[in-house]
């Protein structure tokens, strides 16, 4: 590879001049002439039968263009929203999900009718006049109760409430017998709302003249959306164009098809008007799928010397009223439950449970934060039971030889776990902290430190294990590199940035591979009318390790052709042509050179080798041989106010290893944001429903607690670099790492701070009232001479 040092350089972002100037292009930033605005009438109930929908008053409201219900959409939309089986092969029950309810609503916020009107205001006014008559049905909210065969059903015609029940590795009663200590815990993962600050939005125009549909939307997956819309609307893919320009955050929630995507496009077809829908925040918290929503029953055993023996994991996953498009992917938590460690035995089972809540689906980390959280909590619980330092038990059990095959047959490509741990310990001053903690406790000051030595699976993903996840399309990635006659370059990719900075970083790769000036390269994405036939989108920390590699591969194809042409021009053998920093020359004659731009011009000319076609461009699809496996150690330091239960997060250290780094500034930024979302889960955020009525109680940002700058400390970052052997660039992924790592570090620190009370585990969010209550219970328990926590 040419060494022009663009890879690894801190390059400032090309995205920023427009974004800091208010000149971005988000979906609500433009409107076609004649656009009708859509407002959606949603179920106020968690579970109800629809008796009738009276639109008489609404249709007379000013500006109303049309009102559509199930029977209208049934003519325009074929089939339901697809569900990918993902990692869960044995599906028991996947209720058919049409984008709008017909007879029964199964979660609060499910669409029941849509109103199109000339203005946004009129659409909302008229939607408020749609009179839906419901009979409320019992809301199934509690997962354990839902599994009782006598439970009311989430879908009244369903067989039961089990979405799936899959045992990856069966329990082995013998395995735990080797352990000297055994811990048991139930670890909760509350529901979270992804809350990208830009809500979702779709605008669609159907041209009756040529039967073409153009869809502008805020999405992470333009090509996949086109694919899903083709299936849903019965239009050929060639007639659908999906355009996604600037996207104001996604975190997974814009990475799969949702009801409104079908409703807006179908309404555009039905009404022959361009139609626009922009999600409101309450709509988003109620209706955009949630992340997490799980609990794990875990049992783990270790020998006296700290050697890990056996882990038994059962995941209960609240699927919601339907199974989310990629919802079952979160079963991956089971497969990573052993974390960075060698275990003799792990058994795991995942149970998907239907409830009358909005479906859950992939949200930043999707299954991996849950895995880290449970594994790193288990390690600390075992350390506590063994009276061992949490650092020592980690060191003792780290996987050290790579590739490392875990208990489920997944192969970790590379790692140096102790190195990251050591660096983090040094940054925090671990030994000094322990002394301060000791002194503090004598004065009634409750300091705590928490470690999270995390690993993850990303770079999704190799074709074979992922082909089932999209209904047959393997999750590889595409790129097209076009070198124009005068040497400037356009690169088209199937991934789509929603904050990841691909416009900046992908050209860094191309600059090094093609050896052309960085400024001569532009990245284009987010328009299915351009570039390769198909792309797979941005999620699962895959854009670099899969998409970046496709870019690299396409660039190399260009170099290969350019080398052939250079050999022809030099009248030399191809093997004798050297390519160095964008210059071709014949071995031994470095003074006679041709730059890539000169070769480009020649490639469109008349003097080509006999077997060569004009042009200098290439398309590549990259199918990685394995996933990639980033890792690191995060450390949180907290002080808990024992009187109020308030947690003060004082320091946060993150040492991460994502292999080779393309742009360190971007990597740090991804970690900052990721860590903050994990801290938010640990301490602040939770979607709360009333468990009797099924009504959501956190439907605004007043009640759904996204932390502000004031609640997040300065994050102290460093890294180690262990290149991935999985791809030529040696890169892994970093988009989700922070979130995967951080909730465990924070909660381990909180538990460490509270250990003098005999508290061993705290659920999330570790809010003051929860902690205060636990301290009270611990005090009562210890005065009763009982175990502090059962």
């Amino acid at each position: 590879m040419a060494v022009t040092a663009m890879i690894g350089a801190k390059i400032h972002r090309r995205e920023d001049p427009r974004l800091v100037s208010g000149a971005g292009h988000y979906v609500d930033d433009f409107t076609l002439p004649g656009t009708a605005y859509m407002s959606i009438v949603r179920s106020p109930y968690a579970h109800a039968r629809i008796n009738s929908i009276d639109v008489t008053a609404a249709s007379k409201a000013p500006g109303v263009v049309a009102i559509y219900t199930y029977k209208d959409f049934a003519k325009a939309i074929t089939g339901g929203i697809p569900v990918a089986p993902a990692f869960v092969a044995e599906k028991k029950q996947t209720p058919n999900r049409f984008p709008i309810a017909e007879k029964e609503v199964v979660y609060q916020g499910e669409a029941v009718a849509v109103v199109l009107a000339d203005s946004r205001y009129q659409a909302v006014d008229a939607a408020n006049l749609v009179d839906v008559n419901y009979d409320q049905l019992p809301a199934v909210m509690d997962m354990e109760k839902a599994l009782d065969p006598k439970s009311p059903k989430v879908h009244s015609d369903g067989p039961d409430n089990v979405a799936w029940d899959l045992t990856y590795v069966p329990d082995d009663a013998e395995a735990m017998k080797e352990a000297d200590v055994v811990i048991k815990e139930r670890i909760h993962q509350q529901r979270l709302s992804p809350t990208a600050i830009e809500p979702r939005g779709v605008m669609a125009e159907y041209a009756r003249a040529d039967g073409s549909l153009t869809v502008w939307m805020s999405t992470q997956i333009p090509h996949l959306m086109r694919f899903y819309l083709t299936l849903g609307l019965g239009l050929p893919e060639s007639r659908i164009r999906v355009v996604s320009q600037d996207v104001g955050g996604g975190f997974g929630s814009k990475g799969y098809p949702q009801a409104e995507d079908y409703l807006v496009t179908a309404a555009a077809k039905l009404s022959s008007r361009p139609v626009k829908w922009i999600e409101g925040r309450t709509e988003a918290i109620q209706g955009t799928p949630h992340g997490r929503g799980q609990f794990f029953d875990v049992e783990a055993g270790a020998k006296k010397d700290g050697t890990l023996v056996a882990l038994k994991v059962t995941q209960y996953l609240d699927a919601g009223g339907y199974v989310g498009n990629l919802g079952a992917f979160q079963g991956v938590a089971c497969l990573l439950s052993g974390g960075a460690y060698k275990w003799k035995h792990i058994s795991a089972r995942t149970v998907g449970v239907l409830t009358n809540r909005v479906p859950t689906d992939i949200y930043r980390g999707a299954g991996r934060p849950e895995a880290t959280h449970l594994c790193e909590r288990v390690i600390d619980l075992l350390a506590g039971a063994l009276k061992m330092d949490p650092v020592a038990i980690r060191r003792k059990n780290f996987a050290t030889e790579f590739p490392f095959t875990n208990n489920f047959g997944l192969v970790y490509d590379s790692g140096a776990y102790e190195k990251a741990l050591d660096k983090a310990l040094e940054m925090v001053g671990y030994d000094r902290f322990r002394k301060e903690q000791e002194e503090g406790r004598r004065k009634g000051k409750y300091l705590g430190i928490g470690l999270s030595s995390w690993i993850e699976i990303c770079g999704i993903g190799p074709s074979a294990p992922t082909a089932g996840a999209t209904g047959g399309i393997a999750l590889v990635e595409s790129a097209q590199v076009r070198v124009f006659p005068t040497g400037s370059v356009s690169v088209y990719v199937g991934t789509h940035s929603h904050g990841q900075s691909h416009e900046t970083t992908f050209p860094q790769i191309v600059a090094d591979t093609l050896g052309v000036p960085y400024d001569s390269i532009e990245l284009r994405h987010g328009d299915t009318a351009e570039g390769p036939a198909f792309g797979y989108g941005t999620y699962g920390s895959r854009s670099l390790a899969v998409g970046g590699m496709a870019v690299h591969k396409a660039s190399k194809k260009v170099v290969d052709k350019a080398r052939k042409l250079a050999a022809h021009i030099f009248e030399a053998s191809e093997d004798d042509v050297v390519f160095d920093q964008g210059q071709f020359y014949v071995k031994g004659s470095p003074d006679k050179r041709k730059a890539m731009a000169e070769i480009a011009l020649a490639s469109y000319g008349a003097s080509l080798p006999p077997d060569m076609e004009q042009g200098l461009e290439a398309v590549a699809y990259f199918d990685p041989p394995n996933f990639v496996w980033p890792f690191g150690t995060h450390i949180a330091v907290v002080e808990v106010d024992p009187e109020t239960g308030d947690v003060d997060l004082q320091r946060y250290i993150a040492v991460d290893d994502c292999g080779n780094v393309i742009n360190p500034m971007i990597v740090d930024g991804q970690i900052h944001g990721g860590v903050t979302q994990g801290i938010a889960q640990a301490l602040y955020e939770e979607v709360v429903y009333d468990n009797d009525s099924g009504q959501m109680r956190t439907g605004t940002m007043t009640d759904y607690l996204i932390p502000t700058a004031n609640e997040i400390p300065n994050l102290e970052l460093d890294r180690t670099v262990t290149p991935s052997p999985t791809n030529e660039l040696g890169v892994k992924g970093i988009g989700e790492a922070g979130t995967i790592a951080s909730s465990a570090a924070v909660i381990n620190a909180v538990c460490d701070a509270l250990s003098p009370f005999g508290i061993k585990h705290v659920d999330m969010p570790a809010s003051p009232d929860r902690i205060w209550k636990q301290i009270q219970q611990a005090r009562v328990a210890s005065s009763n001479g009982e175990e502090a926590r059962k």
Binding site: N128, D646, Y684, V688, R697, P707, T708, N710, D769
Partner: protein
């Protein structure tokens, strides 16, 4: 979300505002800073038929000291209260409380009159008004704070009655307001105020009942020589708070005690 339609009129005098309110009738509302009202209207939890915008009324945006009284006009914004040198000198607890209301943007718009008239149990000014025996002055009368905050979102204000100012006593002794919340710009989960005045303590609590609460039992205990931590144990006497998302009733009562203790101890 989008508010329902309404009529809108600007008033440039209190008299004109009164006339407009009379004209528009019972479902009209006064628009001052709008930071309680507009979010409710956007969620359509409030659908007034008309708004009378009083922001153009001159003279309601003044902070004045007259003798032993501090007059805070209804249109005085939180940011003015927070930065007021007069208040820092004569009624510093109010300036401090103002700095903890909402965020910069909210403090640039929200008003004293708006908070008082809205009478949210989680409002901070009402607690201060209550414990200091402030008077809420309207275009018709002057109402003692203890008679003003009747219930959550409920005051004795008539449909055409407009708060014009709130009159506090000068109180420049030791004081502290502790607002316990998750995020800096949140409402109080529980708030506790302590103000030393005329040789005695005034203790108040925010968001532990449907109205602000004056903790008389704590004041009496302190008067009788109890230590702060002993007196503060009475902060929850007679309280029966309802639980919410962030705190159970028991936890609110506990916070009332802890925060009261801290407010007294930290008062200066």
């Amino acid at each position: 979300m989008i508010p329902a339609a309404f009529e809108y009129a600007r008033a440039t005098s209190v008299e004109e505002a009164t006339k407009l309110l009379d004209k528009f009738g019972e479902d009209a509302k006064v628009l001052a800073g709008g930071h309680s009202l507009i979010p409710l209207m956007r969620l359509r939890l409030s659908q007034p038929s008309a708004l009378v915008d009083i922001n153009g009324i001159k003279g309601l945006d003044q902070i004045k000291v007259e003798g032993s009284k501090v007059h805070v006009g209804a249109l005085v914004r939180h940011v003015q209260i927070q930065n007021s040198d007069v208040l820092k000198d004569k009624l510093p607890i109010l300036a401090e409380v103002a700095g903890e209301v909402g965020d910069n943007q909210v403090r640039n718009m929200g008003t004293m009159g708006g908070v008082v008239a809205h009478a949210d149990a989680a409002g901070d000014y009402p607690t201060i008004a209550l414990i200091l025996d402030a008077e809420i002055v309207t275009n018709k009368r002057s109402i003692p704070a203890k008679d003003f905050f009747k219930d959550i979102f409920t005051t004795p204000l008539a449909a055409n009655e407009i708060v014009t100012e709130v009159v506090f006593p000068v109180a420049d002794g030791p004081h502290k307001y502790i607002k316990f919340r998750r995020r800096l710009f949140d409402w109080a989960i529980v708030g506790a105020a302590a103000q030393k005045m005329n040789g005695g303590w005034r203790i108040g609590l925010t968001n532990v009942a449907s109205t602000p609460v004056r903790a008389k039992a704590v004041e009496d205990a302190l008067h009788n020589g109890a230590k702060p931590e002993e007196a503060a144990e009475h902060a929850s006497d007679g309280l029966n708070p309802s639980g919410d998302l962030r705190a159970s009733p028991e936890y609110k009562k506990h916070l009332a005690r802890v925060l009261t203790k801290r407010a007294i101890e930290q008062a200066k």
